[in-house]
Amino acid sequence: MADRAPVLQLTDVRAGYGRRTVLDGASLVVAPGEVVALLGTNGSGKSTLLRVAAGLLRPWSGEVRVFGRGSAEWPRRDLARRVAVLPQSLELPLGFRVAEVVAMGRIPHARGVFAGDAGDVAAVSAALRDADAADLVDREVSELSGGERQRVLVAMALAQEPELLLLDEPTLHLDLAHQLTLVRTLARLRRARDLTVVAVVHDLNLAAAMADRAVVLHGGRVGPAGRGQEVIDASLARDALGVPIEVATTADGRRVLAPVTRVE
């Protein structure tokens, strides 16, 4: 894995909004096929890092390379064929059906003037299945629950057939069953087409389950957090989440984290 060119490379990135600096010397290298969990407290810059990586926010300084090319040099449409973003929140326009919204993921691949082609239908169909949203296909988007909307947004991102998937809290609003489905889908897509994933995750147990490694954003910089079960660590949890955490062990020997919820 190490001998292949990185999919995403952030070097000493400074970025923010107005006068507020959010990222201050952030660096991160993501290899092809890697799944990276991005941890950190609210306001630590996780979403900002994803926006910079997606080319949606231009950094003040530092370098962002996506597939070996500077993110500012990418034509928008070419980049959107290879990188998909799941935003943290998105207003879905009234009046569209689920299939129509998911089909918008095909916009960067569009060839015909008006109609989509068989490739679009196949991609949308597969994305709906992978996001476990196939049963929603004819529903109006304004009628969806929070978790159903989230599955539709995941499907739209998958319909882009990206090589790099940037997910901002992908399990938001999802019940436990759908969280596990999503983790399994990402694992399968990664095996099937070498999908690379960077995901903002708040649940360290989930991070340990889905990611090869986790990194933690703190003070505008990216620090290592560990690989697999190493993430399940009390001092790391305190850094990433800002609260005391206890480590417990399950009957089958896995370590899990539990917040210390004693009220003084």
Binding site: P75, R76, F96
Partner: protein, 358 residues
């Protein structure tokens, strides 16, 4: 994974059959509206004669059984007026749909970011030129001075508004709306000042500002129709960008839309169509606001159907409204569209209070 996927094909947008039905129905309505507009009138031309004249002039069918004056009324007065209603209604409704998507504002109409104020200032200045400038200049500008200055004023104002709103990081939609409001207010002050000094030309000024298709003629249509037609086609092929913009600018960018470039192009094209329409009709309200809303409710928000449907049904509405205006003794058509449009808009507002949003 659940096995509830039906075996029927996945529908990713308006189907060809449904689109054909919607647009064919619009075309039939348009032909019917034109027929009514052509046959109806207060000048004593028999409705049968009006249609016979049209068939005779277009296809060479039938023999002349009507007075020459009837032919002049139908061919030189009613028909250009009907075609102007079609062209202006189509332009207003389709650019209204574009502005509503672009500005993500349900209150948006084609006049919002400066076209109306700019065109009004241009037209009013032209109407008053005889009083302000030597006769030689107006003669040189000729009969089309009002139309030319209205068109240039409308288009130039939108470009100015865009320049005011443009910052280093792009052109935020909210800034665009506010800049449009500010510049429009400034130009409206100019219009008010000109009206104050207009003297005996005031009636002509007011009549233009209220909007009318009465000044329609074939040469003026030859100027406006191609501009509206070309902008419509160039807007229609951007339906994917318009759909993506409904998801917000960040997500549109993530889907590969060059958001700032598309905003510039869409604004320029919609402003071009609006200004060309305003130039031959003055400002006619509600068509550009109400028609896209109604069609979105009826046929869905996908722009590849919404834009052509807006064009057809906008044309139908304005042709019928203008026929009503003529039959009501020649009142300005803007009064009729307001009488139809305002109650509808109130209904729309009430409905949005009842139906919970996303």
């Amino acid at each position: 994974m659940r096995a509830t996927v039906a075996t029927r094909p996945l529908i990713l947008g308006p189907t060809l059959g449904r689109s054909t039905l919607v647009l064919a129905a619009g075309s039939v309505l348009l032909v019917a509206a034109a027929g009514i507009g052509l046959a109806a009138g207060t000048s004593g031309v028999a409705p049968g004669d009006a249609l016979a004249i049209l068939l005779h002039r277009l296809l060479g069918i039938g023999s002349v059984t009507w007075p020459a004056s009837a032919e002049t009324i139908v061919w030189e007065l009613r028909l250009p007026r009907i075609v102007a209603g079609m062209v202006v209604g189509a332009g207003l409704a389709s650019s209204g749909a574009v502005f509503q998507a672009l500005l993500r504002n349900p209150m948006a109409d084609p006049y919002l970011i400066g076209t109306a104020a700019g065109a009004s200032l241009g037209a009013v200045a032209a109407l008053l030129l005889p009083a302000l400038l030597p006769v030689a200049v107006t003669a040189w500008l000729g009969i089309g001075a009002v139309q030319v200055l209205a068109f240039v004023g409308g288009l130039a104002t939108v470009l100015m508004v865009f320049a005011v709103a443009r910052g280093r990081a792009g052109t935020p939609v909210v800034t665009l709306l506010l800049a449009g409001y500010a510049v429009s207010s400034l130009l409206s002050a100019g219009v008010a000042l000109l009206m104050f000094v207009a003297g005996d030309r005031l009636a002509a000024v007011v009549s233009w500002l209220l909007g009318s298709l009465g000044g329609a003629s074939w040469p003026r249509l030859a100027l406006a129709a191609p501009l509206i037609g070309v902008s419509f086609v160039l807007l229609l092929v951007r339906w994917r960008s318009l759909n993506a913009l409904l998801l917000g600018e960040a997500q549109a960018a993530a889907l590969g839309v060059d958001v700032e470039r598309e905003k510039r192009r869409l604004t320029a094209l919609a402003a071009l169509a609006t200004s060309a329409g305003v130039a031959i009709s003055g400002t006619i309200g509600f068509v550009g606001l109400v028609v896209p809303h109604l069609l979105r409710l009826a046929f869905g928000p996908d722009h590849r159907l919404l834009l052509p449907a807006s064009m057809l049904y906008g044309a139908v509405l304005l042709v019928l409204a203008d026929t009503g205006a003529r039959l009501a003794g020649g009142i300005p058509v803007g009064i009729v569209t307001a009488l139809i449009g305002a109650p509808f808009f109130i209904w729309l507002l009430r409905r949005s209070l009842v139906v919970p949003r996303g």
